[in-house]
Symmetry: C2
Subunit: 306 residues, 2 copies
């Protein structure tokens, strides 16, 4: 039986004070069964993104402890940065990976929201797939006006009532918790150095200008080569192979071709399985057919059984 794995990518309103950032990371990595995969701080945004994963129970516990730690060490009255934010722990999305569904991540988000609201006294808004109100699906809508505006209106405007926790904002602000699909950052380099072709292809493939759903794309010139730089926000609905073939076909139309592609960061196993299904027509294909995966599942179970 494969293990259940969930990813969590919380954003914290601190990108400058290393001791605060490390304190938050340690509150996560101290939870057994959780692994911190990445931490990225931006000084101008004054913001840190931590990526971690593990079994659902451990990931949820680690998210709670990180929100608690952030509330203790970040004061929104003093926080300044370019990036919009509502709270110390600003956004906390759960992402389904191996063996877990979006529904399980929605349930995790709502349970964590309730716990944070009730025990930490922090107002919580549920967003994206976990949203309880349609006007809270989009993160930007929830965060509108930021901490400062929310402080004024919370408790007065019922439209801004949190889903959990008090109708009152303390110095930790509010936390936005939710569930969303995995985001794949994917770049395709063209044989040409003509960036205008990359821009035209980006325009054709991206959702916002009538292209493929769940694709954000821009054209760039990177080291002398035209690049279509993308975020694929739902690889189950819009597989990587589908995007690749659309770019291949468009590139041919402009008399050029794909030179190579690159992943920025990680790709989930399920997206790999999609590629094998599409090109090798391996159907069904499950990650447990990969020898190393089978072995790791079994060894992890063995270790946990001890």
């Amino acid at each position: 039986m494969p293990q259940k794995i969930v990813e969590c990518v919380p954003n914290f309103s601190e990108g400058r004070r290393l001791e605060v950032i490390e304190g938050i990371e340690q509150s996560i990595s101290a939870v057994p069964g959780v692994l911190v995969l990445d931490r990225h701080s931006d000084v101008d945004h004054n913001r840190t993104v931590i990526t971690f994963a593990g079994n659902p129970g451990s990931v949820s516990e680690a998210a709670f402890r990180a929100i608690e730690k952030a509330a203790q060490t970040i004061d929104l009255e003093k926080h300044q940065g370019e990036h919009p934010r509502l709270g110390a722990a600003d956004v906390v999305p759960f992402v389904p990976l191996s063996g877990t569904s979006m529904d399980e991540c929605i349930a995790l988000a709502r349970a964590l929201g309730r716990r944070v609201g009730n025990t930490l006294g922090i107002p919580v808004y549920l967003y994206e797939r976990a949203a309880l109100r349609p006007q809270r699906v989009n993160l930007e809508d929830v965060r509108r006006g930021e901490y400062e505006a929310l402080k004024e209106t919370l408790g007065k405007d019922p439209e801004r009532d949190p889903d959990f926790g008090p109708k009152k904002l303390g110095p930790a602000g509010a936390t936005i918790i939710g569930a969303r699909p995995f985001l794949i950052a994917y770049n395709v380099y063209l044989e040409t150095g003509d960036v205008s072709i990359a821009k035209k292809i980006a325009c054709t493939v991206r959702q916002s200008s009538g292209g493929l759903p769940n694709v954000k794309a821009i054209g760039l010139l990177v080291e002398g080569r035209a690049q279509v730089s993308m975020n694929l926000t739902n690889f189950s609905e819009t597989p990587v192979a589908h995007v690749q073939e659309m770019i291949r076909s468009e590139a041919e139309g402009y008399g050029t071709s794909i030179h190579h592609a690159e992943l920025v960061g990680l790709i989930p196993q399920a997206a790999i399985a999609d590629v094998l299904q599409r090109y090798l027509q391996l159907d069904p294909f499950t990650p447990e057919q990969i020898l190393e995966t089978r072995l790791f599942y079994a060894l992890t179970e063995q270790a946990e059984g001890k």
Copy 2:
């Protein structure tokens, strides 16, 4: 850092007495860090194949214990079966997987051969990539005449001198130890029910009739559909995608196409990486870019560090 993993697929000359078979399997699974992935017994062949994997040291230790156990419980003087064999533990190949090279498997095979020869008093022949004599590369050549003929000639004909161990055959017979690439069993189903097309395509793609190296293929009719059934004996030299595209092109030539493909058993991660490089032009691509793989590597290291 990724873990080093080696597979071992020993063949034992017992396919009928369950207590003997289970005794051998238990001698393998009792070694920590080793996992039995499969066990297949054939009553007519009177033979059992056990597939296991793990870190190189544990796999080698488990192979030794299995050879020892087989020597204690299988008597070649009494063994009868359709499959050719030289010994109780007949053939013991090591197969490189994640993080290990063919050279490491050759070294494992030779070290195990020396240990088996010296401490168990069993004559050992090294074959395939681990062979020390060119006439011992092919398994069939080493096994010619089987146990009965070897018993007569060993110690008389220097051509049959073992690589390790005594020039004398006991009831455990001799053991053939070596290293070889992973074998992928891969079937491609065509849209047609005309088996003659599958047979023609099999003839075109297989090495023996002038096709692709490292490909064995036959044409079959399976559930009303023509199937090209293959063993890919070296996916590094002859990638799965290469075989797939040759079949696709041949099928088109016969006015048909690929319906779907299937794996029989497991595929190594490195073969998956090949597919991503070929079709998505993801270059470089390493398995550590797969989120779950990264996680399993790290969790295994964590568990081992404790």
